[in-house]
Amino acid sequence: MDATPGAPLIQIRDVSRRYVRGVDEVHALERVSLDIPAGHFVGFMGPSGSGKSTLLNLVSGIDRPSEGDVIVAGQRLNDLSEDELARWRARHVGLIFQFFNLIPVLSARDNVALPLLLTKLDKAERVRRAETALRVVGLEDRLDHYPRTLSGGEQQRVAIARAIVTDPDLIVADEPTGDLDARNAEAILDLLRQLRQHFGKTVVMVTHDPRALRFVDDAYHLDKGVLLEGEEAARAQEAIRVSAGAAGARGPR
């Protein structure tokens, strides 16, 4: 994917996603349209169950829309078969989740090297790149550590290293700070911002962490599967800013 900065890397066109649960249908997303420019750090915000993860999963190609199209760097994801989509993800997307990011029986280095197993790189090169990625996230002294011996923040940084090790243009993160304390959360947010600043990555993040507003370029607000716009979006953003201020005032310096 070569992305001209400023041009939309991701185009979301009238996307809906419904889940069938027994006889019920859950409308997780309703006709969402959105462009995300290359090289931006974007946050999807909103209350729990508002469809943030669903939207992120569609952008990263681990799920398919019920209606509408997701186009990433000119590739209509709907045109790809299941296996093609898996290969596409391996090549173009780095993924960070809230939990279960790491394989507990593999060292930090081996965890980071996992996506490289899917490439043609030889072992030495895989190790070299994994170590480089761990250096980028500041864990060069934790190469041989197993996940359970790392703190939550360190684990999340290993996950970020794994997400960038294949040098993808798009990095998606679902609640990457959800499990972390304030200091670690800010460190992770800062790291994601640096990926955008220093490496030109497009980063799309789901969060309900109000602190995130200070780091992202654009924040989008979802409610009940609908993307808020104009007045409504501004009100939602203001509400979050207020709660962030309150949290900041209460929190230790």
């Binding site: 681990i62 898996a86 989740f97």
Partner: protein, 389 residues
Amino acid sequence: MKYAGLVLANLGRNKLRTALTGGAIMLAVLLVCVLLTMPAGLDAFLNNIASNTRISVHNKAGLVYAMPYAFTRKVRQIDGVAAACAFVWFGGAFEEAGRVTFPNFAVEADQVGAVYPDYDVPAQQLADFQRYRDGAIVGRATMRRYGWKIGDRITLRSTVWPVNLDFRIVGEIPNDRSPLLWMNRDYLDEALKAQGRPAGLGIAGIVWVRAADPERVNAIMRTVDDLSRNSDSETASETEKSFFSNFFGSLKGFIAIILLVTGLVALCIVFIAANTASMGVRERAGELAILKAIGFGRRLLFATLLAEATVLSSVAGLAGVVSTIGITKVLHVFAGWNASLGPLGAFIVTSSVIVEGIFLSLFVGMLAGVVPAFGAARKPVVATLHEVF
């Protein structure tokens, strides 16, 4: 194979469980292989009966009933008979009281070599056997078992006749699997007379006959049985192969049960291994979803999960096969020749047993792994993420 590290790391995830499952598979393969040596031993034995010219003549009423010794001479005179030798069960026990640890018979020293030319007992040893009344010819299996050599003297206490006899070993049947001991019939006859039985031995348990020509075997059998018709001891003649498969006929039911048991054991370990595989997959659902999310294809995930189950079961199965070889060696020494089990008690691990053991363990691994691996590989990422998180 670059995914080997991942497969092995996953096997090491829950070492106790892996070890327990591996141990169960190993023991099951061991049990199956040891049991399979029994039918394999019988097959090997029956296939080894090379002679298609030998005939067994015995009392129609059953093997425990004897025939008059004099009948042997009549058989020998029948047209087409190359040689005939009367056999009498001595039931001699060596060392341990009351237990017969190898089959031993009183035979006609001047005839036995001619009936069993295929046993390849050297002519000089057969000559010595005729020369020394107390001579004995012993199969190599028994020689090895007790560390005997030609020239040794041994004592056997009969469990059938009221005598203890001393023997000198004058010859060997050069066959690793032969447990037999032949003694001189005249020696037993004299000993019985000395015990106050003026009639002496006087009987033949089985007369083994060698036909000069395989074509004439049927005619000879008919003639023999006609000869004895309406006498006190009518005979039933049969070929050597038929004799031994009838002799071990009662073992066939036993073998059927063995095969049934081995089948059930195999099924049982499939379930054990499948349980381990599906537990492994279930508790890793989140991780597997993430592997899939970062681009591991369905086929690759399926293959690594299947490999996990197969590596475990084949390593365990290999250990089972290797222990089978060890255990049967021990069993072989302890059980030796066993009157009720016959060739089933030989515990010889044939190559077919090894191959079956290895195939069994591969099969167990694949069968156990395939369903959980398929389910895990097929499940959409978002479904798992939604369930797990």
